[in-house]
Symmetry: C2
């Protein structure tokens, strides 16, 4: 059995996503981390972002405008992506349990889902 090791690089990547709290991309995480740990490489950031997502410590919320965004909040919520400023907003709303119904009705083994809206945020719509 392979052991998951704790490295400062992995911790820095995880901390960055939490501290940025802006649904950052790998590039944005790299920019944030390289300040504190200049020798880190981009490959390390990419690798840790996907490993942390697999472990359930981060959430890959999908690819918007060409790059994958990550979220430190792994509990269920939706997102709103502004087409103008490209910002990703959290939308905390409860959708009824159609998800459970879907699971049972269609025979799909659902491991995750992504609900996102696009349009213009209050700032950009004026």
């Amino acid at each position: 059995m392979t052991v998951k090791r704790n490295t400062i690089q992995r911790q820095l990547v995880l901390d960055a996503v939490c501290e940025l709290a802006s649904h950052p991309t790998a590039e944005q995480v790299y920019e944030y981390v390289v300040d504190k740990h200049p020798s880190i490489s981009k490959a390390t950031v990419y690798r840790n972002l996907s490993m942390l997502s697999e472990y359930g410590e981060l959430l890959n919320i999908g690819s918007f405008h060409g790059s994958i965004h990550y979220d430190h909040n792994c509990s269920y919520h939706c997102h709103f992506i502004c087409e103008n400023c490209k910002q990703v907003f959290d939308i905390s709303t409860q959708l009824p349990n159609v998800f459970d119904d879907l699971r049972e009705m269609h025979g799909f083994e659902i491991k995750g889902h992504s609900l996102s809206f696009n349009g213009l945020c209050p700032n950009c719509s004026t």
Copy 2:
């Protein structure tokens, strides 16, 4: 005022997405169209896919596994993406009108949304 011109290339791209009906990527559309019109270039396929999406004649349903998928069905439905076979399935289900509520409650001008599930399809889960 710029005039949108009708070209055979644009029509072929639109037809391809309809005829394939498998949520194709730009690459898959190109492979399909180049048979009928060998001189078409990939840039033309990419350009027309994004223009047709802007015009509302196609739907960009998001980027899965590294490339954007398009749908000829522009009416509301969800998708299920199998993590194993990478197939995109249509899920026709009605979510209650939380979308209208969101629109009014948050001040976001919602132009579209995307709800997709990932996991294993019935074929792959056994």
